[in-house]
Symmetry: C2
Subunit: 315 residues, 2 copies
Protein backbone atom coordinates (compact mmCIF):
# COMPACT_ATOMS: atom_id res chain seq x y z
CA UNK A 1 0.00 0.00 0.00
CA UNK A 2 1.11 3.55 -0.75
CA UNK A 3 1.37 6.28 1.86
CA UNK A 4 1.77 10.04 1.77
CA UNK A 5 3.10 12.69 4.08
CA UNK A 6 1.26 15.93 4.71
CA UNK A 7 3.11 18.87 6.24
CA UNK A 8 1.57 22.05 7.56
CA UNK A 9 4.49 24.45 7.94
CA UNK A 10 3.61 27.19 10.39
CA UNK A 11 5.36 30.22 11.82
CA UNK A 12 5.69 28.58 15.24
CA UNK A 13 4.67 24.94 14.91
CA UNK A 14 4.78 22.47 12.06
CA UNK A 15 2.35 19.57 11.81
CA UNK A 16 3.49 16.42 10.07
CA UNK A 17 1.22 13.50 9.28
CA UNK A 18 1.45 10.12 7.63
CA UNK A 19 -1.71 9.41 5.66
CA UNK A 20 -3.19 7.14 3.06
CA UNK A 21 -4.58 8.54 -0.16
CA UNK A 22 -8.09 8.54 1.32
CA UNK A 23 -6.86 11.18 3.73
CA UNK A 24 -6.90 9.03 6.85
CA UNK A 25 -4.22 10.02 9.33
CA UNK A 26 -2.19 7.01 10.49
CA UNK A 27 0.33 8.92 12.59
CA UNK A 28 1.02 12.57 13.18
CA UNK A 29 3.30 14.82 15.15
CA UNK A 30 3.78 18.50 15.93
CA UNK A 31 7.23 20.04 16.15
CA UNK A 32 8.58 23.54 16.66
CA UNK A 33 9.40 25.06 13.27
CA UNK A 34 12.44 26.92 14.68
CA UNK A 35 12.65 28.91 11.47
CA UNK A 36 15.64 30.93 12.74
CA UNK A 37 17.79 27.80 12.16
CA UNK A 38 17.21 28.20 8.43
CA UNK A 39 15.27 26.32 5.80
CA UNK A 40 17.75 23.46 5.35
CA UNK A 41 17.93 22.56 9.05
CA UNK A 42 14.14 22.66 9.31
CA UNK A 43 13.73 20.38 6.29
CA UNK A 44 16.21 17.91 7.73
CA UNK A 45 14.39 17.86 11.07
CA UNK A 46 11.11 17.30 9.24
CA UNK A 47 12.64 14.35 7.39
CA UNK A 48 13.73 12.89 10.72
CA UNK A 49 10.16 13.10 11.99
CA UNK A 50 8.79 11.52 8.82
CA UNK A 51 11.13 8.55 9.26
CA UNK A 52 10.10 8.20 12.91
CA UNK A 53 6.40 8.32 12.06
CA UNK A 54 6.87 5.61 9.42
CA UNK A 55 8.71 3.45 11.93
CA UNK A 56 6.02 3.93 14.59
CA UNK A 57 3.36 2.99 12.05
CA UNK A 58 5.36 -0.03 10.90
CA UNK A 59 5.48 1.33 7.37
CA UNK A 60 8.44 0.83 5.06
CA UNK A 61 9.61 4.31 4.09
CA UNK A 62 9.80 3.07 0.48
CA UNK A 63 6.04 2.94 0.47
CA UNK A 64 5.84 6.68 1.08
CA UNK A 65 5.17 7.92 -2.43
CA UNK A 66 4.79 11.62 -1.94
CA UNK A 67 5.29 14.54 0.41
CA UNK A 68 2.88 17.47 0.28
CA UNK A 69 3.39 20.73 2.12
CA UNK A 70 1.43 23.86 2.86
CA UNK A 71 3.56 27.00 3.18
CA UNK A 72 2.76 30.53 4.40
CA UNK A 73 3.60 32.44 1.21
CA UNK A 74 3.03 32.33 -2.54
CA UNK A 75 4.23 29.11 -4.18
CA UNK A 76 5.01 28.93 -7.88
CA UNK A 77 4.58 25.66 -9.83
CA UNK A 78 4.08 23.73 -6.58
CA UNK A 79 7.84 24.10 -6.12
CA UNK A 80 9.25 27.56 -5.52
CA UNK A 81 8.34 29.83 -2.60
CA UNK A 82 8.47 33.47 -3.73
CA UNK A 83 8.77 34.59 -0.11
CA UNK A 84 7.88 33.21 3.31
CA UNK A 85 5.46 35.23 5.42
CA UNK A 86 7.36 35.86 8.69
CA UNK A 87 10.29 33.51 7.96
CA UNK A 88 13.86 34.77 7.33
CA UNK A 89 14.30 32.17 4.58
CA UNK A 90 14.92 34.43 1.58
CA UNK A 91 13.09 34.65 -1.72
CA UNK A 92 12.43 32.26 -4.58
CA UNK A 93 13.47 29.19 -2.60
CA UNK A 94 12.95 25.88 -4.39
CA UNK A 95 11.67 23.89 -1.41
CA UNK A 96 10.53 21.01 -3.62
CA UNK A 97 14.10 20.47 -4.82
CA UNK A 98 15.52 20.75 -1.29
CA UNK A 99 13.15 18.23 0.23
CA UNK A 100 13.40 15.82 -2.69
CA UNK A 101 17.19 15.88 -2.40
CA UNK A 102 17.02 15.08 1.33
CA UNK A 103 14.23 12.49 1.14
CA UNK A 104 14.33 11.00 -2.34
CA UNK A 105 10.54 11.30 -2.33
CA UNK A 106 8.46 13.34 -4.78
CA UNK A 107 7.46 16.60 -3.11
CA UNK A 108 4.75 19.14 -3.97
CA UNK A 109 3.86 22.33 -2.14
CA UNK A 110 1.32 25.10 -2.27
CA UNK A 111 0.22 28.11 -0.29
CA UNK A 112 -1.25 27.14 3.10
CA UNK A 113 -4.67 28.71 2.47
CA UNK A 114 -4.88 26.90 -0.86
CA UNK A 115 -3.92 23.65 0.86
CA UNK A 116 -6.70 24.05 3.42
CA UNK A 117 -9.13 24.61 0.54
CA UNK A 118 -7.84 21.46 -1.14
CA UNK A 119 -8.31 19.53 2.10
CA UNK A 120 -11.92 20.66 2.46
CA UNK A 121 -12.52 19.98 -1.26
CA UNK A 122 -11.13 16.45 -1.28
CA UNK A 123 -11.66 15.19 2.25
CA UNK A 124 -13.82 17.73 4.05
CA UNK A 125 -16.91 19.90 3.87
CA UNK A 126 -16.88 20.21 0.06
CA UNK A 127 -16.11 16.57 -0.68
CA UNK A 128 -18.15 15.54 -3.71
CA UNK A 129 -18.53 19.09 -5.03
CA UNK A 130 -17.07 19.68 -8.47
CA UNK A 131 -15.92 23.13 -7.45
CA UNK A 132 -15.53 24.96 -4.18
CA UNK A 133 -14.04 28.10 -2.74
CA UNK A 134 -12.88 28.06 0.86
CA UNK A 135 -12.99 31.41 2.65
CA UNK A 136 -11.00 31.52 5.90
CA UNK A 137 -12.28 34.35 8.08
CA UNK A 138 -9.66 35.04 10.70
CA UNK A 139 -7.22 37.82 11.41
CA UNK A 140 -7.24 38.30 7.65
CA UNK A 141 -9.25 36.59 4.94
CA UNK A 142 -7.53 33.75 3.15
CA UNK A 143 -8.96 31.77 0.33
CA UNK A 144 -8.45 28.82 -1.93
CA UNK A 145 -10.19 27.99 -5.18
CA UNK A 146 -10.79 24.43 -6.33
CA UNK A 147 -12.12 23.85 -9.86
CA UNK A 148 -11.81 21.11 -12.48
CA UNK A 149 -10.16 18.84 -9.89
CA UNK A 150 -7.32 21.27 -9.16
CA UNK A 151 -6.37 24.34 -7.19
CA UNK A 152 -6.19 27.74 -8.85
CA UNK A 153 -2.75 28.42 -7.40
CA UNK A 154 -1.92 31.28 -9.72
CA UNK A 155 0.95 32.15 -12.05
CA UNK A 156 3.06 33.46 -9.16
CA UNK A 157 1.32 31.51 -6.42
CA UNK A 158 -1.11 34.28 -5.47
CA UNK A 159 -4.29 32.56 -6.65
CA UNK A 160 -7.08 32.74 -4.08
CA UNK A 161 -5.85 35.92 -2.39
CA UNK A 162 -9.48 36.95 -2.07
CA UNK A 163 -8.85 38.96 1.10
CA UNK A 164 -7.24 41.65 -1.02
CA UNK A 165 -10.03 42.01 -3.52
CA UNK A 166 -11.04 45.68 -3.36
CA UNK A 167 -14.67 46.20 -2.41
CA UNK A 168 -14.52 49.90 -1.47
CA UNK A 169 -12.65 52.36 -3.70
CA UNK A 170 -10.17 54.33 -1.60
CA UNK A 171 -11.62 52.56 1.42
CA UNK A 172 -10.27 51.47 4.75
CA UNK A 173 -6.51 50.92 4.94
CA UNK A 174 -5.55 47.24 4.98
CA UNK A 175 -2.57 45.50 6.55
CA UNK A 176 -1.21 44.99 3.01
CA UNK A 177 -0.81 48.74 2.61
CA UNK A 178 -3.55 49.07 0.00
CA UNK A 179 -7.05 50.40 0.59
CA UNK A 180 -10.56 48.99 0.54
CA UNK A 181 -9.62 45.29 0.77
CA UNK A 182 -12.32 42.72 1.55
CA UNK A 183 -10.39 41.66 4.67
CA UNK A 184 -10.23 45.22 5.98
CA UNK A 185 -14.02 44.94 6.39
CA UNK A 186 -15.10 41.33 6.78
CA UNK A 187 -12.25 39.59 8.63
CA UNK A 188 -12.39 39.21 12.41
CA UNK A 189 -10.02 42.16 12.57
CA UNK A 190 -12.24 44.18 10.25
CA UNK A 191 -15.25 43.53 12.42
CA UNK A 192 -13.32 44.38 15.57
CA UNK A 193 -12.05 47.64 14.02
CA UNK A 194 -15.62 48.65 13.29
CA UNK A 195 -16.78 47.64 16.76
CA UNK A 196 -13.98 49.54 18.50
CA UNK A 197 -14.75 52.59 16.41
CA UNK A 198 -18.43 52.47 17.39
CA UNK A 199 -17.69 51.70 21.05
CA UNK A 200 -15.73 54.95 21.23
CA UNK A 201 -18.99 56.84 20.96
CA UNK A 202 -21.46 54.31 22.36
CA UNK A 203 -20.88 52.49 25.62
CA UNK A 204 -24.55 51.92 26.48
CA UNK A 205 -24.77 48.40 25.20
CA UNK A 206 -24.50 44.82 26.38
CA UNK A 207 -21.26 44.23 24.50
CA UNK A 208 -19.43 46.95 26.44
CA UNK A 209 -20.80 45.56 29.69
CA UNK A 210 -19.89 42.00 28.79
CA UNK A 211 -16.27 42.85 28.03
CA UNK A 212 -16.17 45.05 31.15
CA UNK A 213 -14.96 47.99 29.11
CA UNK A 214 -11.83 46.13 27.97
CA UNK A 215 -12.09 47.38 24.39
CA UNK A 216 -8.44 46.56 23.69
CA UNK A 217 -9.14 42.88 24.35
CA UNK A 218 -12.32 42.70 22.24
CA UNK A 219 -12.71 39.56 20.14
CA UNK A 220 -15.11 38.79 17.30
CA UNK A 221 -16.68 36.06 19.43
CA UNK A 222 -17.73 38.66 22.04
CA UNK A 223 -19.72 40.50 19.40
CA UNK A 224 -21.54 37.37 18.24
CA UNK A 225 -22.18 36.33 21.86
CA UNK A 226 -23.74 39.70 22.71
CA UNK A 227 -25.76 39.62 19.50
CA UNK A 228 -27.13 36.21 20.45
CA UNK A 229 -28.30 37.81 23.71
CA UNK A 230 -30.27 40.32 21.64
CA UNK A 231 -27.96 43.34 22.04
CA UNK A 232 -29.06 45.76 19.28
CA UNK A 233 -25.60 47.37 19.14
CA UNK A 234 -24.00 43.98 18.46
CA UNK A 235 -26.74 42.88 16.07
CA UNK A 236 -25.96 45.99 14.01
CA UNK A 237 -22.31 44.92 13.94
CA UNK A 238 -23.30 41.43 12.78
CA UNK A 239 -25.37 43.08 10.05
CA UNK A 240 -22.29 45.08 9.03
CA UNK A 241 -20.20 41.89 8.92
CA UNK A 242 -22.84 40.01 6.92
CA UNK A 243 -23.18 42.88 4.43
CA UNK A 244 -19.49 43.07 3.50
CA UNK A 245 -19.09 39.31 3.66
CA UNK A 246 -21.99 39.01 1.21
CA UNK A 247 -20.43 41.54 -1.14
CA UNK A 248 -17.08 39.74 -1.19
CA UNK A 249 -18.49 36.23 -1.45
CA UNK A 250 -20.93 37.33 -4.17
CA UNK A 251 -17.99 38.61 -6.19
CA UNK A 252 -16.42 35.18 -5.92
CA UNK A 253 -19.72 33.61 -6.96
CA UNK A 254 -19.96 35.91 -9.99
CA UNK A 255 -16.39 35.20 -11.05
CA UNK A 256 -16.03 31.49 -10.21
CA UNK A 257 -19.62 30.22 -9.76
CA UNK A 258 -18.56 27.35 -7.48
CA UNK A 259 -20.85 24.58 -6.27
CA UNK A 260 -19.84 25.09 -2.64
CA UNK A 261 -18.56 27.88 -0.44
CA UNK A 262 -16.73 26.61 2.64
CA UNK A 263 -16.43 29.10 5.48
CA UNK A 264 -13.58 28.59 7.91
CA UNK A 265 -11.79 30.55 10.61
CA UNK A 266 -13.08 32.00 13.85
CA UNK A 267 -15.80 34.21 12.35
CA UNK A 268 -17.45 31.20 10.69
CA UNK A 269 -18.01 29.70 14.15
CA UNK A 270 -20.65 32.38 14.74
CA UNK A 271 -23.05 30.04 12.94
CA UNK A 272 -26.59 30.90 11.86
CA UNK A 273 -26.66 34.36 13.41
CA UNK A 274 -24.19 35.31 10.66
CA UNK A 275 -25.01 32.74 7.98
CA UNK A 276 -28.75 33.50 7.83
CA UNK A 277 -28.35 37.21 7.03
CA UNK A 278 -25.41 36.36 4.76
CA UNK A 279 -27.57 34.07 2.62
CA UNK A 280 -30.25 36.75 2.37
CA UNK A 281 -27.81 39.52 1.50
CA UNK A 282 -26.13 37.47 -1.22
CA UNK A 283 -29.27 38.02 -3.32
CA UNK A 284 -28.37 41.69 -3.54
CA UNK A 285 -24.89 41.12 -4.93
CA UNK A 286 -24.75 37.72 -6.66
CA UNK A 287 -26.24 36.87 -10.05
CA UNK A 288 -29.31 34.69 -9.34
CA UNK A 289 -27.95 31.77 -11.39
CA UNK A 290 -24.90 31.54 -9.09
CA UNK A 291 -27.17 31.01 -6.06
CA UNK A 292 -29.04 28.07 -7.61
CA UNK A 293 -28.26 24.92 -5.61
CA UNK A 294 -25.30 26.74 -4.01
CA UNK A 295 -24.12 25.14 -0.78
CA UNK A 296 -22.66 27.33 1.97
CA UNK A 297 -21.11 25.20 4.67
CA UNK A 298 -18.68 25.48 7.55
CA UNK A 299 -15.28 23.80 7.24
CA UNK A 300 -15.01 20.49 9.10
CA UNK A 301 -11.33 19.58 9.04
CA UNK A 302 -10.15 22.15 11.60
CA UNK A 303 -6.50 21.66 12.55
CA UNK A 304 -6.19 18.63 10.29
CA UNK A 305 -7.02 20.59 7.11
CA UNK A 306 -3.36 21.42 6.50
CA UNK A 307 -1.92 17.92 6.54
CA UNK A 308 -4.93 16.40 4.76
CA UNK A 309 -4.91 19.06 2.07
CA UNK A 310 -1.18 18.59 1.52
CA UNK A 311 -1.79 14.92 0.75
CA UNK A 312 -4.60 16.06 -1.56
CA UNK A 313 -1.87 17.32 -3.89
CA UNK A 314 -1.31 13.67 -4.80
CA UNK A 315 -4.86 12.35 -5.04
CA UNK B 1 -6.73 13.80 -40.64
CA UNK B 2 -9.33 14.90 -38.09
CA UNK B 3 -11.42 18.04 -38.40
CA UNK B 4 -13.61 20.02 -36.05
CA UNK B 5 -16.52 22.40 -36.38
CA UNK B 6 -16.67 25.68 -34.47
CA UNK B 7 -20.00 27.45 -34.13
CA UNK B 8 -20.54 30.96 -32.82
CA UNK B 9 -24.28 31.18 -32.18
CA UNK B 10 -25.36 34.81 -32.13
CA UNK B 11 -28.62 36.65 -31.65
CA UNK B 12 -28.76 37.65 -35.32
CA UNK B 13 -26.02 35.77 -37.16
CA UNK B 14 -24.33 32.44 -36.59
CA UNK B 15 -20.80 31.75 -37.76
CA UNK B 16 -19.85 28.20 -38.64
CA UNK B 17 -16.32 27.10 -39.41
CA UNK B 18 -14.52 23.92 -40.35
CA UNK B 19 -11.11 23.84 -38.68
CA UNK B 20 -8.22 21.58 -37.87
CA UNK B 21 -7.12 21.08 -34.27
CA UNK B 22 -4.44 23.75 -34.69
CA UNK B 23 -7.25 26.26 -35.08
CA UNK B 24 -6.75 26.94 -38.81
CA UNK B 25 -10.01 27.75 -40.58
CA UNK B 26 -10.45 25.68 -43.75
CA UNK B 27 -13.93 26.87 -44.63
CA UNK B 28 -16.45 29.08 -42.90
CA UNK B 29 -19.87 30.55 -43.43
CA UNK B 30 -22.25 32.99 -41.79
CA UNK B 31 -25.99 32.34 -41.68
CA UNK B 32 -28.97 34.11 -40.11
CA UNK B 33 -29.77 32.48 -36.78
CA UNK B 34 -33.55 32.95 -37.26
CA UNK B 35 -34.08 32.02 -33.65
CA UNK B 36 -37.86 32.53 -33.91
CA UNK B 37 -38.01 29.24 -35.85
CA UNK B 38 -36.99 27.44 -32.68
CA UNK B 39 -33.90 25.62 -31.50
CA UNK B 40 -34.50 22.38 -33.45
CA UNK B 41 -34.92 24.07 -36.83
CA UNK B 42 -31.82 26.18 -36.22
CA UNK B 43 -29.74 23.14 -35.29
CA UNK B 44 -30.90 21.32 -38.42
CA UNK B 45 -29.98 24.30 -40.61
CA UNK B 46 -26.57 24.43 -38.93
CA UNK B 47 -26.05 20.74 -39.68
CA UNK B 48 -26.89 21.43 -43.33
CA UNK B 49 -24.23 24.12 -43.47
CA UNK B 50 -21.66 21.86 -41.80
CA UNK B 51 -22.24 19.20 -44.47
CA UNK B 52 -21.92 21.82 -47.23
CA UNK B 53 -18.68 23.17 -45.78
CA UNK B 54 -17.22 19.66 -45.59
CA UNK B 55 -18.19 19.03 -49.21
CA UNK B 56 -16.66 22.32 -50.37
CA UNK B 57 -13.46 21.50 -48.51
CA UNK B 58 -13.42 17.97 -49.93
CA UNK B 59 -13.51 16.50 -46.45
CA UNK B 60 -15.32 13.28 -45.63
CA UNK B 61 -17.86 14.17 -42.93
CA UNK B 62 -16.71 11.06 -41.04
CA UNK B 63 -13.43 12.84 -40.37
CA UNK B 64 -15.25 15.57 -38.43
CA UNK B 65 -14.63 14.42 -34.87
CA UNK B 66 -16.22 17.17 -32.83
CA UNK B 67 -18.56 20.14 -32.88
CA UNK B 68 -17.94 23.00 -30.48
CA UNK B 69 -20.37 25.85 -29.90
CA UNK B 70 -20.42 29.19 -28.11
CA UNK B 71 -23.83 30.20 -26.82
CA UNK B 72 -25.16 33.48 -25.37
CA UNK B 73 -26.18 32.20 -21.92
CA UNK B 74 -24.90 30.07 -19.05
CA UNK B 75 -24.01 26.51 -20.06
CA UNK B 76 -23.86 23.68 -17.54
CA UNK B 77 -21.50 20.72 -18.05
CA UNK B 78 -20.75 21.84 -21.61
CA UNK B 79 -24.20 20.47 -22.45
CA UNK B 80 -27.24 22.24 -21.03
CA UNK B 81 -28.15 25.88 -21.64
CA UNK B 82 -29.84 27.29 -18.53
CA UNK B 83 -31.38 30.08 -20.61
CA UNK B 84 -30.60 31.82 -23.87
CA UNK B 85 -29.99 35.57 -23.72
CA UNK B 86 -32.56 37.05 -26.14
CA UNK B 87 -33.71 33.72 -27.67
CA UNK B 88 -37.23 32.30 -27.10
CA UNK B 89 -35.76 28.83 -26.73
CA UNK B 90 -36.80 27.99 -23.18
CA UNK B 91 -34.74 26.97 -20.20
CA UNK B 92 -32.43 24.05 -19.42
CA UNK B 93 -32.17 22.93 -23.04
CA UNK B 94 -29.74 20.09 -23.66
CA UNK B 95 -28.24 21.43 -26.88
CA UNK B 96 -25.44 18.87 -26.80
CA UNK B 97 -27.95 16.03 -26.96
CA UNK B 98 -29.96 17.71 -29.70
CA UNK B 99 -27.00 18.33 -31.96
CA UNK B 100 -25.45 14.92 -31.33
CA UNK B 101 -28.75 13.27 -32.27
CA UNK B 102 -28.92 15.20 -35.53
CA UNK B 103 -25.26 14.89 -36.48
CA UNK B 104 -23.94 11.78 -34.79
CA UNK B 105 -20.85 13.85 -33.88
CA UNK B 106 -19.64 14.57 -30.33
CA UNK B 107 -20.72 18.08 -29.35
CA UNK B 108 -19.53 20.41 -26.58
CA UNK B 109 -20.72 23.90 -25.78
CA UNK B 110 -19.93 26.75 -23.46
CA UNK B 111 -20.88 30.35 -22.85
CA UNK B 112 -19.82 32.61 -25.74
CA UNK B 113 -17.59 34.87 -23.61
CA UNK B 114 -15.87 31.79 -22.18
CA UNK B 115 -15.40 30.44 -25.70
CA UNK B 116 -13.75 33.68 -26.84
CA UNK B 117 -11.40 33.42 -23.84
CA UNK B 118 -10.61 29.82 -24.78
CA UNK B 119 -9.87 30.92 -28.35
CA UNK B 120 -7.46 33.63 -27.20
CA UNK B 121 -5.88 31.19 -24.71
CA UNK B 122 -5.30 28.36 -27.17
CA UNK B 123 -4.91 30.08 -30.52
CA UNK B 124 -4.68 33.80 -29.87
CA UNK B 125 -3.13 36.54 -27.78
CA UNK B 126 -2.57 34.33 -24.71
CA UNK B 127 -1.25 31.30 -26.58
CA UNK B 128 1.57 29.81 -24.54
CA UNK B 129 0.36 31.29 -21.24
CA UNK B 130 -0.51 28.77 -18.57
CA UNK B 131 -3.39 30.91 -17.40
CA UNK B 132 -5.27 33.87 -18.82
CA UNK B 133 -8.37 35.91 -18.24
CA UNK B 134 -10.03 37.55 -21.21
CA UNK B 135 -11.96 40.73 -20.46
CA UNK B 136 -14.32 41.83 -23.23
CA UNK B 137 -15.09 45.52 -22.86
CA UNK B 138 -18.14 46.27 -24.96
CA UNK B 139 -21.75 47.16 -24.24
CA UNK B 140 -21.23 45.11 -21.09
CA UNK B 141 -18.16 43.40 -19.69
CA UNK B 142 -17.82 39.73 -20.45
CA UNK B 143 -15.08 37.50 -19.26
CA UNK B 144 -13.60 34.06 -19.49
CA UNK B 145 -11.09 32.39 -17.21
CA UNK B 146 -8.57 29.83 -18.44
CA UNK B 147 -6.48 27.94 -15.86
CA UNK B 148 -4.87 24.51 -15.66
CA UNK B 149 -5.64 23.93 -19.35
CA UNK B 150 -9.37 24.43 -18.95
CA UNK B 151 -12.11 27.04 -18.71
CA UNK B 152 -13.62 27.95 -15.35
CA UNK B 153 -17.15 27.54 -16.70
CA UNK B 154 -18.85 27.41 -13.33
CA UNK B 155 -21.23 25.04 -11.57
CA UNK B 156 -24.24 26.57 -13.35
CA UNK B 157 -22.33 27.99 -16.29
CA UNK B 158 -21.84 31.45 -14.81
CA UNK B 159 -18.06 31.27 -14.38
CA UNK B 160 -16.31 34.38 -15.66
CA UNK B 161 -19.27 36.74 -15.21
CA UNK B 162 -16.78 39.37 -14.11
CA UNK B 163 -18.92 42.24 -15.37
CA UNK B 164 -21.23 41.71 -12.42
CA UNK B 165 -18.56 41.76 -9.74
CA UNK B 166 -19.58 44.59 -7.40
CA UNK B 167 -16.98 47.32 -7.08
CA UNK B 168 -19.13 50.04 -5.51
CA UNK B 169 -21.50 49.19 -2.66
CA UNK B 170 -25.00 50.45 -3.51
CA UNK B 171 -23.46 51.97 -6.62
CA UNK B 172 -24.71 52.74 -10.08
CA UNK B 173 -27.63 50.63 -11.30
CA UNK B 174 -26.59 47.98 -13.81
CA UNK B 175 -28.57 46.42 -16.65
CA UNK B 176 -28.76 43.23 -14.57
CA UNK B 177 -30.89 45.02 -11.99
CA UNK B 178 -28.24 44.97 -9.28
CA UNK B 179 -26.08 47.89 -8.21
CA UNK B 180 -22.39 48.76 -8.38
CA UNK B 181 -21.39 46.22 -11.03
CA UNK B 182 -17.97 46.50 -12.71
CA UNK B 183 -19.68 46.84 -16.09
CA UNK B 184 -21.86 49.73 -14.92
CA UNK B 185 -18.60 51.70 -14.66
CA UNK B 186 -15.95 50.32 -17.00
CA UNK B 187 -17.84 49.00 -20.04
CA UNK B 188 -18.27 51.19 -23.12
CA UNK B 189 -21.78 51.87 -21.87
CA UNK B 190 -20.47 52.75 -18.41
CA UNK B 191 -18.01 55.22 -19.88
CA UNK B 192 -20.70 56.72 -22.12
CA UNK B 193 -23.08 57.07 -19.16
CA UNK B 194 -20.44 59.01 -17.28
CA UNK B 195 -19.64 61.16 -20.32
CA UNK B 196 -23.28 61.97 -20.99
CA UNK B 197 -23.76 62.89 -17.36
CA UNK B 198 -20.78 65.26 -17.47
CA UNK B 199 -21.74 66.70 -20.86
CA UNK B 200 -25.05 67.78 -19.37
CA UNK B 201 -23.20 70.38 -17.34
CA UNK B 202 -20.12 70.98 -19.50
CA UNK B 203 -20.34 71.62 -23.21
CA UNK B 204 -17.11 73.66 -23.49
CA UNK B 205 -14.92 70.85 -24.68
CA UNK B 206 -13.58 69.31 -27.87
CA UNK B 207 -15.66 66.17 -27.44
CA UNK B 208 -18.94 68.09 -27.56
CA UNK B 209 -17.71 69.97 -30.63
CA UNK B 210 -16.52 66.79 -32.35
CA UNK B 211 -19.86 65.04 -31.94
CA UNK B 212 -21.64 68.25 -32.97
CA UNK B 213 -23.72 68.14 -29.82
CA UNK B 214 -25.23 64.76 -30.72
CA UNK B 215 -24.94 63.40 -27.20
CA UNK B 216 -27.47 60.65 -27.88
CA UNK B 217 -25.16 59.21 -30.53
CA UNK B 218 -21.99 59.37 -28.43
CA UNK B 219 -19.66 56.37 -28.71
CA UNK B 220 -16.71 55.34 -26.55
CA UNK B 221 -14.44 55.81 -29.56
CA UNK B 222 -15.36 59.53 -29.73
CA UNK B 223 -14.09 60.00 -26.19
CA UNK B 224 -10.77 58.29 -26.89
CA UNK B 225 -10.41 60.23 -30.16
CA UNK B 226 -10.94 63.58 -28.42
CA UNK B 227 -8.57 62.54 -25.63
CA UNK B 228 -5.88 61.76 -28.21
CA UNK B 229 -6.34 65.35 -29.46
CA UNK B 230 -5.52 66.55 -25.95
CA UNK B 231 -9.06 67.45 -24.83
CA UNK B 232 -8.84 67.73 -21.03
CA UNK B 233 -12.52 66.89 -20.57
CA UNK B 234 -12.04 63.63 -22.48
CA UNK B 235 -8.71 62.85 -20.82
CA UNK B 236 -10.54 63.04 -17.48
CA UNK B 237 -13.05 60.53 -18.79
CA UNK B 238 -10.24 58.21 -19.89
CA UNK B 239 -8.79 58.53 -16.40
CA UNK B 240 -12.20 57.56 -14.98
CA UNK B 241 -12.35 54.53 -17.28
CA UNK B 242 -8.78 53.47 -16.43
CA UNK B 243 -9.44 53.81 -12.69
CA UNK B 244 -12.48 51.52 -12.58
CA UNK B 245 -10.96 49.16 -15.12
CA UNK B 246 -7.88 48.89 -12.88
CA UNK B 247 -10.01 48.17 -9.83
CA UNK B 248 -11.93 45.40 -11.57
CA UNK B 249 -8.93 43.82 -13.27
CA UNK B 250 -6.89 44.00 -10.06
CA UNK B 251 -9.63 42.04 -8.30
CA UNK B 252 -9.28 39.36 -10.95
CA UNK B 253 -5.51 39.41 -10.48
CA UNK B 254 -5.87 39.03 -6.71
CA UNK B 255 -8.32 36.15 -7.06
CA UNK B 256 -6.93 34.26 -10.07
CA UNK B 257 -3.34 35.57 -10.50
CA UNK B 258 -3.25 34.76 -14.22
CA UNK B 259 -0.18 34.98 -16.43
CA UNK B 260 -1.98 37.05 -19.05
CA UNK B 261 -4.90 39.46 -19.23
CA UNK B 262 -6.40 39.70 -22.70
CA UNK B 263 -8.44 42.81 -23.36
CA UNK B 264 -11.06 42.63 -26.08
CA UNK B 265 -14.08 44.57 -27.25
CA UNK B 266 -14.37 48.10 -28.55
CA UNK B 267 -12.88 49.87 -25.52
CA UNK B 268 -9.65 47.85 -25.81
CA UNK B 269 -9.11 49.37 -29.27
CA UNK B 270 -8.32 52.68 -27.53
CA UNK B 271 -4.79 51.34 -27.16
CA UNK B 272 -2.03 52.94 -25.12
CA UNK B 273 -4.01 56.04 -24.13
CA UNK B 274 -6.02 53.67 -21.95
CA UNK B 275 -3.52 50.86 -21.33
CA UNK B 276 -0.72 53.09 -20.03
CA UNK B 277 -2.75 54.63 -17.18
CA UNK B 278 -4.36 51.23 -16.57
CA UNK B 279 -0.98 49.60 -15.95
CA UNK B 280 -0.02 52.40 -13.57
CA UNK B 281 -3.29 52.30 -11.66
CA UNK B 282 -3.14 48.53 -11.20
CA UNK B 283 -0.37 49.12 -8.66
CA UNK B 284 -2.92 50.74 -6.39
CA UNK B 285 -5.30 47.78 -6.36
CA UNK B 286 -3.38 44.60 -7.19
CA UNK B 287 -1.03 42.71 -4.86
CA UNK B 288 2.50 43.38 -6.14
CA UNK B 289 3.21 39.66 -6.68
CA UNK B 290 0.32 39.43 -9.16
CA UNK B 291 1.90 42.14 -11.34
CA UNK B 292 5.25 40.34 -11.65
CA UNK B 293 5.78 39.31 -15.28
CA UNK B 294 2.07 39.91 -15.92
CA UNK B 295 1.24 40.37 -19.59
CA UNK B 296 -1.61 42.69 -20.58
CA UNK B 297 -2.37 42.32 -24.26
CA UNK B 298 -5.13 43.08 -26.73
CA UNK B 299 -7.10 40.18 -28.21
CA UNK B 300 -6.04 39.22 -31.73
CA UNK B 301 -8.70 36.80 -32.96
CA UNK B 302 -11.46 39.36 -33.54
CA UNK B 303 -14.49 37.86 -35.28
CA UNK B 304 -12.81 34.47 -35.52
CA UNK B 305 -12.46 34.06 -31.73
CA UNK B 306 -15.87 32.37 -31.46
CA UNK B 307 -15.33 29.58 -33.97
CA UNK B 308 -11.69 29.04 -32.98
CA UNK B 309 -12.51 28.94 -29.29
CA UNK B 310 -15.32 26.47 -29.90
CA UNK B 311 -12.83 24.09 -31.50
CA UNK B 312 -10.58 24.71 -28.51
CA UNK B 313 -13.05 22.64 -26.46
CA UNK B 314 -11.53 19.60 -28.20
CA UNK B 315 -7.83 20.43 -28.15
Amino acid sequence: MDYYVGIDLGGTNTKIGLLNIEGDILKSSIIKTLSSEGVDKTMERIWGVIQELAKEANINIKNVKGIGMGIPGPVEDQSIVAFFANFPWGTNVNVKEKLEKITGIETKLDNDANIIALGEAKYGAAKGSKSSVTVALGTGIGGGIYVNGMLVSGFKGAGGEIGHMKIVKDGRVCGCGQKGCFEAYASATGLIREAVSRLTVNKQNLLYTMIEGNVAGLEAKDIFDAAKEGDIFSLDLVDYEAEYLAMGIANILNIINPETIVLGGGVALAGDILLDPLRKKLEKYALPVTLEDLKIVQGILGNEAGIKGAVGLFS
